[in-house]
């Protein structure tokens, strides 16, 4: 395992310590409950928004805490949902009179922790609503699975609800807004390589030198199929077709386009992919109003990317463009 790690068990806490030391004025790290929160919350006239999920997807979600986005993130261990007690404790810490919005990627484990944590918080009179994010088109809905996974599209839910909360939206309004964003957001990802959770020490899966996996999940869950490596443009074509035919998006739509790196793919390649994806989206008659190229929701050091389309309306576009102050910044 070639990683920067001391004790694998301390991987997440040591990362959180780094986040806190890098943002001493704006963020707080509460080691006891493994959480990162804004230093200035709860704010009495603002709904608090929190998200938790397994670690290993950074910057999601611990580096997306700050004014205009999340008020707190309670991560679990790498690829493991946060403990229910931590969901509960975080909810208590951020609870404002206007309530708490839980953002949740749609996985069994996360859902179970958040449900249990929410029940515990509600038992103490805290008002909680939940938005479940399930933008991944790779896994088809079925009667017996929990349904589509939440992947990189979670960025747009965090950003839009975060901006709206800052402007005073109520808990009900934020819940509706979150669901509205989910309804217009679709993603599909793929991988060239596996990744190694620090505590496991060996890759979750491996792909042959000439193989790639289409429709991969952000925990290395197998996707739609393993196929032979293909030129970049063909990969974009396939992901875009899967995504764009899903809602479906149609000519004339205004959209945001995201090329999200999975962690091990250099930004040069992401821009190369973006260039072609941009042309193809416009060729379908859509108008790209905002673009996102970089790492938003990763799988440790996995090489690969996901493509996300969001159908915009003027309100949503405005919320996405609003300022935010989060750990991830360039200068």
């Amino acid at each position: 395992m070639k990683k920067f790690v001391n004790d694998p068990k301390n991987f997440v806490p040591e990362m959180l310590k780094g986040i806190a030391l890098a943002n001493p004025k704006t963020l707080k790290y509460i080691p006891e409950y493994n959480l990162i929160m804004r230093a200035d919350i709860p704010i009495s006239n603002k709904v608090s928004i929190m998200q938790g999920s397994g670690s290993g997807h950074e910057p999601a979600h611990v580096m997306a805490v700050g004014r205009g986005m999340l008020d707190a993130a309670c991560p679990g261990n790498v690829f493991a949902a946060p403990p229910a007690d931590f969901v509960y404790q975080t909810t208590k810490l951020v609870a404002s009179p206007k309530g708490v919005l839980h953002l949740l990627n749609n996985y069994t484990g996360d859902t179970m922790s958040f449900n249990m944590g929410r029940e515990m918080a509600e038992a103490e009179g805290i008002e909680v609503r939940t938005v479940t994010i399930n933008d991944d088109v790779a896994v088809k809905d079925s009667t017996w699975t929990i349904g589509r996974r939440g992947v990189a599209g979670n960025f747009f839910v965090m950003k839009a609800t975060g901006a709206a909360a800052e402007r005073g939206a109520s808990l009900e309004e934020l819940e509706a807004l979150g669901n509205r964003v989910v309804a217009v957001t679709r993603t599909m990802g793929m991988a060239l390589t596996g990744c190694t959770p620090p505590a496991k020490g060996t890759p979750i899966f491996t792909l042959a030198e000439d193989e790639m996996e289409m429709g991969i999940g952000i925990h290395g869950e197998p996707g739609r199929k393993r196929v032979k490596m293909a030129p970049a443009n063909e990969i974009v074509d396939e992901l875009l077709e899967a995504v764009a035919s899903d809602i479906p998006y149609k000519a004339g739509d205004e959209v945001a386009l995201m090329i999200n790196g999975m962690g091990g793919t250099p930004i040069s390649e992401l821009y190369l992919l973006y260039g072609y994806a941009h042309e193809q989206v416009e060729k379908r008659g859509m108008k790209i109003k905002r673009n996102y190229i970089g790492e938003y929701c990763t799988s440790l050091e996995m090489a690969g990317f996901s493509l996300t389309l969001v159908k915009l309306d003027p309100e949503l576009e405005d919320l996405l463009a609003a300022p935010a102050e989060i750990a991830i910044r360039v200068f």
Partner: protein, 207 residues
């Protein structure tokens, strides 16, 4: 009697610690490879913070174990195992003696809790598919008048067979469920863990 509960909890914990890597590997085949790690961290907290748990009654010990697990492990394993211990503790209530009937009642209540929390049932390729047959056997052996050691032995054998029998199943819960057809032909990690634990308890009971 709290001593017995303590003994079993510690035995479970140690068995989990010994099998951490193995359990994770099983989960890694079609799941996300965190099962052993997760559950080991849960029992680590249980053992490390043993003295902060209220041990005035066996039922309280079990509830305390639940809270430690729910405070250390997230997702399926944390909530499922936490719910199981919580339900068992609630079922035991203020009793100070644990009869064979109590043991079965605790297991049944834990199983119901798991089904509700996990929105799942038999046949979904989860630990229930090993746990339920094992408890059925345990109850049958008790009813047949077998002694604890023999009953545990028989339950352990059934548990192992049932765990092996998850192989042809399609995973319908947890992260393994995303693999769809590919999960067929693999063992369910949670089910194997049940077998390993039943075997450990049964072996220890003999000694």
């Amino acid at each position: 009697m709290s001593k017995d509960v303590e003994y079993v909890v510690r035995l479970i914990a140690n068995t989990v610690f010994e099998n951490e890597q193995y359990f994770s590997e099983l989960d890694g085949v079609v799941g996300d490879g965190d099962f052993g790690y997760s559950i080991a961290r849960g029992f680590e907290k249980v053992i490390n913070e043993w003295d902060t748990i209220d041990h005035s009654l066996p039922g309280n010990t079990l509830k305390g174990v639940s809270m430690k697990i729910v405070g250390a492990v997230g997702g399926v394993s944390g909530t499922v195992w936490g719910t199981a211990f919580l339900r068992a503790g609630i079922t035991l209530g203020t009793k100070t003696e644990i009869t064979q009937q109590d043991v079965i009642a605790m297991f049944r209540s834990a199983i119901e809790g798991i089904k509700k929390r996990g929105n799942t049932d038999l046949g979904d390729k989860t630990l229930l598919d090993a746990l339920v047959p094992a408890v059925d056997q345990l109850e049958k052996s008790f009813n047949d008048g077998k002694d604890a050691s023999t009953a545990l032995d028989e339950a352990a054998v059934v548990c192992r067979q049932a765990a092996e029998a998850t192989r042809p199943m399609l995973a319908k819960r947890g992260r393994a469920a995303y693999t769809g057809e590919r999960s067929i032909g693999t063992l369910d990690a949670g089910a194997v863990a049940m077998a390993v634990l039943f075997e450990a308890v049964s072996k220890a009971w003999k000694e």
